[in-house]
Symmetry: C2
Subunit: 406 residues, 2 copies
């Protein structure tokens, strides 16, 4: 893409009302724009990153047997009354239409998926089933102040699983831990993200969160460095040692929850009478699990983990482009190299602007954070100056070597 | 995809509260599920079709120079007050958060995009710019009763263009007519869809709609069969002849609006003081245009146009799969053919279920409406029985011929 065509521009200063590093860098780099506290627009570069994260998650959910659907945002009051959560859920946005009917904006979708599955699941032959969506959710969040880490409107992947017995659900739940690990590895925060024992609510002993360690995190976790698992501070009174090895020497860390998995058991099947006919001809409760990840929150967490004083350092898999090609001064080589890279299917942002100085271009490239920076100028002659965003070394290579490297 | 794995099932009867053909067939075929009047869930088959339509639109908008972004649903009251539409827009959903602040659910996004562009457009060098999104919108619609043709929550592609002068906007507006034609052609409703002169509101003589002729349509248009353009009944009193050739012999038709393009001129730039510095150093108003298409409404319109008494007849480009492979009785050939088709990258729904009769499978295949039906049974021997959904002829061909045909 020609950078001269991009309608966004980078900004030297971060907005004064943003405290979080992810928000500051995303806004300065032209990835997102803030409409109000906790509500952001994804600009072209930001949307590319978001879609890459979504696709990593989508591919992994399909590997986990998931079938993708898209549920609505507008929910009728009656479904939330069925589970008692119309009154109980504190952060539910509620509204009335012109005729006075009550609606909620979906903050989660158990109330939609459970009665939906009732139309299709009849017997044990129809189980298990795994259904997911990547969709917008809404929570009336008074403390929306951490950029993409805590917003009032946010993209979620939520998968719901339906089983004929608890053992089957437990097995799938454990399988999902592996899929989640794969996702966070692919997004470049695998090393910082730990499976964390958390509250299971009133109907399950534990749930599991995936917590990414960062100073920006609003959660407190206690990490067993040996087992690489953690305990959320919310249950540390009941569980003050590593659930795996019993080690009491847990280390306190700040972290952000990037995913969670939850054994719903029969909580929602009970509310909506979601049953199946078993081999013995008897009607039995369907056992459910749910599995969430917020792609935009993951994007924020990645930046909290991968940045320096100059800007973002995107991990390869989710970078908006693989290489940032900077043309300095007038030269005939840049466009030729851009075209060869494009021809090879390499994602390249081409800084073709001639109203910016070399210094400005370098500063912007560091801020935007594309993994490789390639510079072409009169000075580089036949060669191209290449530098990794995360390293200081600069190398001169030729076009062929550049293509091979990328 | 294995049909035995699909969690949805077809239904023999349409729900009693649905009148529109598109809703009846989509629900019976397992493409969508109705949560309440005007609010639907897209099920796996329906989501595949929706994404195909979205991608046709997206590709064409990128050809038109569009840069994709994603704006929010939750809008603060102040931006809608800036344009006076907080009070004026009758179908705006409004809500309050816990602290009592007022919000609207976006029914259109001029109020977001205009102040957003103000941050990035400074001089004539930054113009023109074209920005689009494919995003969920909300309208408090009391008459939501035509399936996907009129919903309260709906996906929209909205592109906004920004120009330094009216001539430039007019040229882009005309160019967009061609892009829209390409989209409706690709979606299989090109022959039934006509550019239609409609009201331009208070600030423009006309806008243009793209109207698809169908009995299910809620609009009335007057068509000039010679010029293939139409006039919306809303302006027929002022414009009672063909705007192109003057022909007064216009033919009344029912139609559904699948897209519209609108010259906004300075209506929104005025409200938000969106200006640019011209070559002469003077600040001037930016001229805007907007261009909408509803992908889900297009999906509904396609079905209203392409169906018969047995079900949907999907046009090739947006069909959920290219071929529906039916395995009848026990045979060893079906799975082999399925695997070869998959290997060739052909999208195939494989009806591998052994609890359905041949008759049931044929009926379901007609309802689901995939362009080709391929049948394998003991009876077909080495051959495969192939039939186009839109034709009656049945042919026996071999695997090689099938792959070539698809």
């Amino acid at each position: 893409m020609f950078q001269s065509q991009l309608f966004t521009k980078t900004q030297k200063e971060a907005p004064k009302d943003e405290e979080a590093i992810n928000a500051k860098l995303l806004i300065r780099g032209g990835f997102v724009d803030k409409l109000m506290a906790g509500v952001y627009t994804f600009l072209p570069l930001g949307l590319i990153v978001l879609k890459k994260i979504e696709n990593i998650i989508r591919d992994e959910m399909i590997k986990a047997g998931g079938q993708e659907i898209l549920m609505p945002t507008l929910h009728p009051k009656r479904i939330w009354e069925s589970t008692g959560r119309w009154e109980m859920m504190d952060d539910l946005y509620k509204l009335k239409d012109k005729s006075g009917k009550d609606f909620a904006l979906g903050s989660t979708h158990e109330e939609v998926i459970t009665p939906l599955m009732k139309k299709f699941i009849i017997s044990y032959n129809d189980l298990p089933k795994y259904v997911f969506q990547i969709q917008n959710k809404f929570r009336d969040e008074p403390r929306a102040k951490s950029g993409l880490l805590r917003t009032r409107e946010f993209i979620m992947k939520d998968l719901y699983s339906f089983h004929s017995n608890e053992k089957d659900m437990e097995d799938y739940y454990d399988e999902m831990k592996v899929h989640y690990k794969n996702i966070f590895d692919a997004c470049g925060i695998g090393r910082e993200t730990f499976i964390t024992f958390a509250s299971g609510g009133s109907f399950s002993k534990y749930s599991h969160e995936f917590q990414t360690i960062t100073e920006a995190g609003e959660d407190k976790i206690f990490l067993c460095e040996k087992c690489k698992i953690a305990v959320n501070s919310e249950i540390i009174d009941n569980q003050n040692s590593c659930p795996e090895c019993g080690n009491k020497d847990l280390i306190e860390k700040k972290a952000i929850e990037v995913g969670n998995i939850f054994k719903l058991k029969t909580k929602f099947s009970d509310s909506f009478e979601l049953k199946f006919t078993d081999k013995d001809g008897l009607d039995k409760d369907i056992i459910m699990g749910c599995y969430g990840i917020g792609p935009a929150r993951v994007m924020g967490a990645i930046i909290e983990v991968h940045h320096d004083e100059n800007g973002i350092i995107w991990p390869k898999n989710i970078a908006p482009f693989q290489v940032h090609l900077l043309s300095l001064g007038k030269n005939k080589k840049s466009e030729k190299v851009y075209n060869s890279l494009k021809k090879q299917g390499i994602e390249v942002l081409y800084d073709d602007r001639d109203d910016s100085s070399a210094g400005e271009k370098f500063t912007e490239a560091d801020l935007i954070g594309i993994p490789y920076r390639a510079v072409i100028s009169e000075k580089t002659g036949d060669k191209i100056e290449i530098k990794k965003r995360c390293q200081k070394d600069i190398k001169l290579i030729n076009e062929k070597e550049l293509i091979k490297m990328l």
